[in-house]
C-alpha cells in the first residue's frame, strides 16, 4: 500500500466509487444479457414446436 498522505480518504473513495460504478454497469449488463438470452431461447423453442 502506497503512502497516500493527507488525502487518503479522497483518493480511496474516488477509486471505490469509480470501480463500484464500473462493476455495477458490467453486472447490470450481464444480468440483462443473460435474461434476454434465456427468454429468446424459450421463445424460439416455442416457435419451433408450434
Amino acid at each position: 500500500m502506497p503512502d497516500l498522505g493527507t488525502y487518503a480518504v479522497e483518493v480511496l473513495s474516488a477509486y471505490a466509487v469509480s470501480i463500484g460504478l464500473l462493476i455495477a454497469l458490467v453486472v447490470v449488463s450481464v444480468l440483462r444479457g443473460k435474461r434476454v438470452k434465456r427468454a429468446l431461447e424459450a421463445a424460439e423453442a416455442r416457435l419451433r414446436n408450434g
Binding site: A14, Y15, V17, V26, L47
Partner: protein
C-alpha cells in the same frame, strides 16, 4: 467484404461472439494494469499530493463520456441514412455506458475538487457542461424506454440525438461565455500540457486504453442483448398476431 456486412445482425452476432472473450480480457488487463500502476507505482505530485492518482480515473472517464455521445451520434446518423438495425441498437446500448462514465467523471472530479479547490462543485464551464451532458443522456435513455415499438423509438431517439448534439455544443460555448461574464480569469481547469509529466502519462495512457476497450467490449455485449431483445419482441408480436 465491406464494413457494412456487419450491419447484418447474423454477421454481427457471429463476429462479436468470437471477439467477446478477447475484448473483455484485453479491457480487464489494461484497466487493471493501468490503475494498479497508477495507484501503487507513481509518485505523488508536489502540489496535489496523492490526489493526483485520481487522474487515472477522471481523465479517461471524462474523455469517454464525450466520445460515447459522439459514437451515438454516428450510429444514429447511420440508422437514419441506411436503416441498419444494428446501428440503432448500438446507440441504445451505448447510452447507459456513457451515463456511467459521466457519473464517474463528475464524482471523481468532485472528490478531487474538495481538497484541491476547497469545494465539491463549482459552476465552471467544464463541470457544468458535464452536468448538462448527463441530463442529455438521461433524456435520451428516458425516450428509448418510453416507446414500445423499437423502430419508432430508434427514429425518435436518433432525431433527439442529432438535435441534442447541436444544443449540447451550443451549451458548451454558452457556458464559457456565461462563466467569463461572471468572473473573468478564474479558470479552474487543469492545463494538461503543464501538469502531466511522463511518470503520470504512461499509466494514464494505459488506463485510457482500458476505458476505451471496456467501452467497446460492453457496447458489443449490450448490442448483442438488444438484438436478441428485438428478436424477442418480433416473436412476441408474431405470436400475438397468430393468437388473435
Amino acid at each position: 467484404m465491406s464494413f457494412w456486412e456487419y450491419a447484418n445482425p447474423r454477421k454481427f452476432m457471429a463476429l462479436t461472439d468470437r471477439a467477446m472473450p478477447w475484448l473483455f480480457t484485453l479491457a480487464g488487463v489494461s484497466l487493471v494494469v493501468g490503475l494498479v500502476w497508477g495507484f501503487f507505482f507513481t509518485p505523488n505530485d508536489f502540489r496535489q499530493g496523492s490526489t493526483v492518482k485520481i487522474i487515472y480515473l477522471h481523465v479517461p472517464s471524462a474523455m469517454m463520456a464525450i466520445n460515447v455521445w459522439v459514437m451515438m451520434l454516428v450510429t444514429s446518423l447511420v440508422w437514419i441514412v441506411r436503416r441498419h438495425h444494428v446501428s440503432a441498437l448500438a446507440a441504445k446500448a451505448a447510452a447507459p455506458i456513457g451515463v456511467t462514465f459521466t457519473l464517474i467523471a463528475l464524482a471523481t472530479g468532485a472528490i478531487w475538487g474538495q481538497p484541491m479547490w476547497g469545494t465539491w462543485w463549482a459552476w465552471d464551464p467544464r463541470l457544468t457542461s458535464f452536468l448538462i451532458l448527463f441530463l442529455f443522456y438521461l433524456g435520451y435513455m428516458a425516450l428509448w424506454s418510453a416507446i414500445e415499438d423499437p423502430d419508432t423509438a430508434a427514429d425518435l431517439t436518433s432525431v433527439l440525438c442529432l438535435v441534442g448534439t447541436v444544443f449540447a455544443v451550443l451549451s458548451r460555448y454558452a457556458l464559457i461565455f456565461w462563466n467569463q461574464g461572471l468572473h473573468q480569469g478564474a479558470s479552474l481547469s487543469l492545463d494538461k500540457e503543464e501538469n502531466v509529466a511522463d511518470v503520470f502519462y504512461h499509466p494514464l495512457l494505459l488506463s485510457i486504453a482500458g476505458f476505451v476497450l471496456l467501452f467497446i467490449a460492453l457496447v458489443f455485449y449490450r448490442t448483442r442483448t438488444e438484438i436478441r431483445a428485438r428478436r424477442l419482441y418480433a416473436i412476441g408480436l408474431k405470436e400475438r398476431m397468430a393468437n388473435a
